[in-house]
Symmetry: D2
């Protein structure tokens, strides 16, 4: 950690800081420059993170040297993590495709969608039983009934299930049905929820908050790993910017960036990341070309009847086309669908 | 609701939309322009919000006419809401000042701060017992012990208490101690939490998410009111932008804007909104001049020893100066401290 | 154009608006809904764009139906534009790769870079002779001397030249040397400059401003086309967001989006769009997979000696690797390098 | 400057950096920590700004210690600058109010507005003769004719004139008429224009770009001062964020922040900063309470006939009310109108 002093910092200010630093078992190195004096602190930086050094008299700014996360970092593990979802491996050579409706609405429709996406090459079924909705007057999900429908489609197709957990109290119920617990963008910093899914035996799909930096996403994943669950996947799903022609701005820079910073698999959601079904296929190809380990895509057999997110859902035929166009791109970057 | 059709929309597309609209009990008015045909829909727009009209064939875009919130709108209530916090009225002529440390750390310190802020004119004590922290390795709050300290200071000073609720499971406990339940920025769209505090008898302070629009803040407040709790205050605490010289960008435009859109009181947090104690006093004056009904300010007797947010905390003497400089501004806009 | 009235708009307000609309030769259709009255305006919407309808008494909001651009729209032209840069065609099957240093620094280095990128498959040489720099104390470019070096490398390699125009007064000089006039991100809304390059016979590469929407980029291109120059290419080079681990957020959504909205070719700049050379190759692949027609990439033989942007420059060997990895991706999406 | 090395940096990498640093006449101090080695560089940091240190082998990141601007910094001058605009002093105790239409449209209207704002207490007339417009089809300003109208109103009222310079070629003409040269937000990084107004004898009003940081605004002002013109004022006029209920987000944090960083006067534009005339009066009060030295406000006698920005213009009566409500706020913060 580097402490930069104000031009008018006094000797007393400097001594005061050095004394505090030493008390914490760290070493302080003072370096006097032409216009500024700086103090370098050597030792376990974490001890200092908890101290508001900027509040000390004479301090202009404080610059951390080390990263605040440990367990999620690539350095910690060296090799890439492959998450095993009951036989479906995510993070290896094979691209994982999760597909299905935004919300689970009825068994018949879900079965139709499930069979179609399975046929086109998806291995995991997505679908929300508990839905976070901006308006209290919007459809809030079918709850346990929705989970049962997901299970029926799983039994019929062999698809694994990913579904969102919004409420800590629902975790035991959802664990009975789901193969992957999804933490949605709005809950990326719901730390108590992160701790609880960190205690679960089920793999976790953690979506990036719409205004979260990549570092904050990694810090949230750190909560999951620190509680014992290393089967964690990260999902880029678009961030909020000033651009209003798309629903969000899909930040594909984050894909190769996270792969360098962390050992965890990266999934991309081109449906939320664009908000327009016409852009989903192009951005799926871009995501895989950028190095993503998987995709999560909204598919609905009749988007105009969907209870949510119809405008960004592909019909099964378009999903099939998407998968066909994706295969050669996956191959071009040394992966397979 | 206005449905704008693509230039290549067919008669079949148009008939299909009209049929659907009529089935929902609404009236459709078709208007053919030079370059585009549009369909105006008359009736209860809410019925349509749940239909993904943009997914219909031939549709280019859909433009809602009405606001998606009802109970929080100024039109709904006409006059401004005054929230009564056990005798302290917020939203009337008198400006409410909430002050205290970011986290509750120990009784002695808290008592010192409480007495000081009371003396300078604060009427409500702030302090976190449960803390949302980016890192799993940071101080997470004292929990119930912290709540007890808050109560002791309340008894000694007469200050009311505002403290954050992070977890639904903690609500009954916090209700025993707090006078206002704070929902933090990270939980602004934790809809289950919003429902639960909507069922509480305690007033709610709802902080704006760092990337939430004013409309989304109002929609989240709609959850609280729709569950029966009309004693809800909104808090502007800075949004995330590209500017990196301050911790957040305090959006004071939101103050007069919300006052026009809604009847609920607006509180401003200049401590988080700037992240720098040197800017807090200026921005407090600006907030009141813009029309805010109250402030929530971080005060710590020894910021350099604070467990969190030291850099943005005022020492009690600076808080006193802030209050003294604020009084004439409040008077200049027809309010009082 | 749709004019939504306030709930309290009077008959007088409505009549006033209708009178004004009719005077402009347009037709007004009034539609009374349950909670709002709206007025649909039929006719040439452009006439109305110049009238501040929101300033009329009784008006709540105004919603345009039509797009404000004409010449750049896909509807205007139907097919995609292929820009012919003295024999190098951009916008067709072949991907155009522009490569070279950020700034032209000396002839020897530039020649080295030019020969290397040519060998790896680039067809256009990039290099700044006039440099927009944040600081008045930074290197501002070699000016005409730099242009001469570019020309020498062109003669030796056959590469075409793209270089930035910052000042209207320099256009005649730059036209003598360059094959493509680049308008930089900072000048995307320097409308007088846009008019002047619109009057030039040379093709234009228009870079998106760091906070410009896609619509604004198209409006700026409209200035170029409206002044007679249809040989215009658009460049996505990253937008400014809150994410600070990369220099900008490369908005690849913009690629398929612009291809749907406009007939103009789209170039992607992964060097500025990431700010980190380690991410450039991955994002080049993603850009082509998303549908881009070309790339503009910074290459420097000795980034640590570069006068600007060294951290995002590839060395020639890395550029060669990038091109080799790119070829199969281009093929996978039906293009060729 | 601090250079942080990668964990895998070799001794060769370190020696290479040290050699380069020493060659530049600087001193390098190596400090080996538990997880990282860092190199502190002592001496004139500016020499290093031009070297892309991040491109050196073994370097993880580079952190500058000093600010990149000099002449605009408060440290450079100590006291606050008061700009004398032909007798009207800006930056002292008296708040400067600039008011007038967005565009100069006709003499009669301008005279009406000029007389009205003068009567209400404005001392400077604003009005655009050259207008930057997003669309090539919008009104582009009256040019010299507009300047003549401004002069006529100046002669009749005694108001000074501020008007925008868009094109370097127009400077000599505008200097004949205007008392203050305004550089608009879109041109904040048009560095050649900055150099030219820096050579002018007229005071400059430099508006912040919609996506410029405060530091970048100061760097742009540095261009003006470095070319000899110290009569420079900075203008906060709203930044672009995700919030879409207002046209821009007025960043009032920037006011006290700039006053701490720089000696230059700060003007606030609540008209562009909100885009809604209903918010202008509240935000004017907030700006002055935050410490601004002046305001620039759009006033039009008939906003519904304005050629631009009608929705954010005050009618003269509302401007009068604004000024009356502003006076006690100015007094409350020790200023006067």
């Amino acid at each position: 950690m580097i402490i930069v002093l104000r031009p008018d910092a006094t000797k007393k200010d400097i001594d005061h800081i050095i004394t505090k630093v030493k008390k914490l078992g760290l070493k302080a190195m003072v370096s006097r420059g032409v216009e500024r004096t700086i103090i370098g602190v050597i030792g376990e930086e974490d001890v200092l993170r908890m101290r508001p050094l900027e509040a000390f008299p004479g301090v202009e700014k404080v610059m951390p040297i080390l990263k605040p996360y440990k367990l999620v970092s690539r350095e910690f593990r060296g090799k890439s993590t492959v998450v095993d979802v009951d036989g479906v491996r995510i993070g290896g050579k094979k691209i994982a495709v999760m597909a299905g409706p935004c919300s689970v609405e009825d068994l018949k429709g879900l079965m139709k969608i499930g069979k179609a996406v399975k046929k086109s090459g998806a291995t995991i079924l997505r679908g929300g039983a508990f839905k976070p909705r901006t308006s209290p007057y919007s459809f809030q999900g079918l709850g346990e009934e929705g989970l049962k429908y997901l299970k029926e489609v799983k039994e019929a197709t062999g698809l694994k299930i990913v579904t969102e957990v919004m409420d800590i109290r629902d975790i035991p119920l959802i664990e009975e049905y789901a193969d992957i617990l999804q933490v949605g963008a709005r809950n990326m910093q719901n730390f108590n929820l992160l701790k609880e899914v960190g205690l679960s035996k089920k793999p976790v799909l953690l979506k990036r908050g719409i205004s979260a930096t990549v570092k904050e996403l990694l810090m949230s994943a750190e909560y999951v790993l620190a509680n014992g669950n290393f089967n964690c996947m990260l999902c880029e799903r678009g961030i909020r910017t000033f651009e209003d022609s798309t629903r969000f701005t899909l930040d594909l820079n984050a894909v190769p960036l996270i792969k360098k910073m962390s050992h965890l698999p990266v999934i991309v959601d081109p449906s939320h990341g664009t908000g327009k079904w016409e852009l989903v296929s192009s951005m799926s190809r871009a995501a895989i070309a950028a190095g993503a380990d998987g995709l999560i895509v909204e598919v609905h057999h009749s988007p105009e009847d969907a209870y949510s997110d119809g405008a960004q859902s592909l019909v099964p035929d378009k999903f099939k086309e998407m998968m066909e166009a994706l295969a050669p791109v996956a191959k071009a970057v040394g992966r397979e669908l």
